[in-house]
Symmetry: C2
Subunit: 354 residues, 2 copies
């Protein structure tokens, strides 16, 4: 593997000194870029794009060719894992993801397989290897997976949900079954992330998009516990470097302390948390990644710059901050605004790293 | 007016002793009840139902005839206020609310009128008077309104929104205009709630459904400040009793202290907060209303009972708790489960009020 030319991300995630605050954007390879939409059209469906390592590599690199980002993130989808567990993922245009075989009873939970990442999700590992080759050491590559609870919401509901009626119904009335489902999913996710690391991912992020819809009690028992289980099974060193792990529960602002206690290296923060308070609470244990409201990218470049300055000042001096949006970039953002954001982070952060 | 036979709600909101914990449910007059669906069909559209005081009274009382609830809440919609400000509210079946004239520029903000509640929203005041007459002192009647920020999201977007692009765009780039819009809306809401109190509402609740999509800085400046403005203008006594005010920001769990400092009497809590911690933080200043996950009503009566017990134990001994769901009851809940919930609160709470 070629030497890493820009290791700001890895250093900041491990709370080591950097020259400027590293920055990347969740969903930075995505629909807001015309070049992404062109590749997507060439590929066919969204899943065709995910399953084509060359094209997945192409879209992963597109934002790096436009902006001086400090990380690449694998282009994929969190639902590849349940798909490989036998649920039959498909996408209906404008309808979001769907599963042919949702997991709604004991028989379905028992029937779930644990995929072999190189066999059943080989297209993801091929994408990781292709991206690493093409990145040629420019920036590190982040791998990712969904949290077991987040995956379970789709697996039980059969797709996206507004009310979480079925998945919470199972959690409340059949906690034994829900624990079995989550244990299997955590096993699958652990193997999947370890395979990504073996294939070349240099940091990994666990997306707990739906942990924030739980009570604090249920969050601990049904979401956090399984992220902890994954953390205990992850490869934490590869190619002679530490592989930092980022945990992100959207809406988890009240639970930062228990999240930081899992043994992860960094927490993703959404924009509803104050980063100064978050640092005071957990900054001695973990790095923080975030947390500009993605809607700022609808505002003028001057206003974006002002918000970046506020967040940098909030975090303050020293190591342990990776700048990001508090959630994925929206599909209808003008790429120039994204550029203004990234530029502002690099320009305005230097004084915080004397 | 006839004497109030059950004043548990009013006492608990003012942190005065009660015999058992009072309970009501957000959206208790709603689609989960077959009798509601029948009245709704008779009325015509949703707005026809809101604008017909006799039928609005009928649906307000329906849940009280089924369950031993400790409060009635006016059947209406938060968007009646912007409608009366000239925006032209209409509902598209399955599409949610829409405005014919969204407020997206300076001219539209300047053109906004402040409605006279008895003239322009007389149908709401007539409903309040009719309900009070028909309640005949059984339980108190809660009036309500949306928070200025929450109303502004609909007013600027022209309806419901997922991304809040337009309203946040205006907030970020034209804060002056947003403040003007919010000031006018707060003035309208203050007059509207005071008219409800004059017509017979015995407590009022401000629903800040979308305050939780803001950063802590923007929440203070664009949502909380305007709820505070309303609080300063509200009639706090009527018919010789205090009129308690409940503030509810969905997703506001991190901001309870500053919410409690507004001078309100009680805070609504969604289910993502731990009620024991919430009481430790603000229980000396305000009562707490909440906070069972509405999805518990998909679970078995035994499981519902267990959750009620957990929340009662969390709040602990003494006054200042109104039991409720953490958000509105879902339309597809079995009414028997709602009944099991209400029964459990009364049965299990007696030991906490020795």
């Amino acid at each position: 593997m070629s030497e890493l030319k820009n290791d700001r991300l890895l250093r900041a995630l491990l709370r080591q000194p950097v020259d400027v605050t590293p920055v990347w954007m969740m969903r930075q390879a995505g629909r807001y870029l015309p070049e992404y939409r062109a590749t997507r059209e060439k590929a066919g469906s969204f899943m065709d794009l995910c399953q084509n390592p060359e094209l997945a590599c192409e879209v992963t690199l597109q934002p790096l060719d436009r902006f001086p980002l400090d990380a690449a993130i694998l282009f994929s989808d969190i639902l590849t894992v349940p798909d490989a567990m036998g649920l039959g993922l498909y996408f209906e245009e404008g309808e979001g993801p769907r599963f042919k075989h949702p997991v709604q009873d004991e028989a379905a939970v028992k029937a779930l397989g644990i995929p072999d990442p190189e066999d059943d999700l080989g297209y993801v590992m091929d994408a990781v290897r292709t991206i690493r080759r093409e990145l040629n050491g420019r920036v590190p590559l982040i791998g990712f997976a969904g949290s077991p609870w987040t995956l379970a919401t789709y697996m039980v509901e059969g797709g996206s949900t507004k009310h979480f009626a079925k998945v919470k119904g199972m959690m409340f009335d059949r906690p034994d079954l829900m624990h079995e489902l989550l244990t299997k999913t955590a096993t699958a996710v652990t193997a999947y992330l370890n395979a990504q690391i073996a294939a070349g991912a240099q940091a990994v992020m666990i997306f707990d998009t739906w942990g924030g819809v739980l009570t604090p009690r249920d969050y601990r028992e049904f979401s956090l516990a399984y992220m902890e289980l994954i953390l205990r099974g992850l490869t934490r060193e590869s190619e002679g470097r530490k592989v930092p792990v980022i945990l992100f529960t959207k809406g988890g602002g009240e639970w930062l302390e228990i999240m930081a206690d899992t043994g992860c290296d960094a927490l993703g923060l959404d924009w509803t948390s104050d980063i100064a308070l978050a640092r005071a609470r957990v900054g001695g244990l973990v790095a923080l990644q975030g947390n500009m409201d993605p809607c700022l990218l609808y505002a003028s470049p001057q206003r974006i710059r002002q918000e970046v300055a506020t967040i940098l000042e909030g975090f303050g001096q020293g190591a342990g901050h990776v700048f990001n949006l508090g959630h994925g970039i929206h599909p209808n953002i003008d790429p120039e605004r994204a550029g203004a954001f990234i530029e502002a982070v690099h320009e305005l952060s230097a004084p915080y790293h004397p």
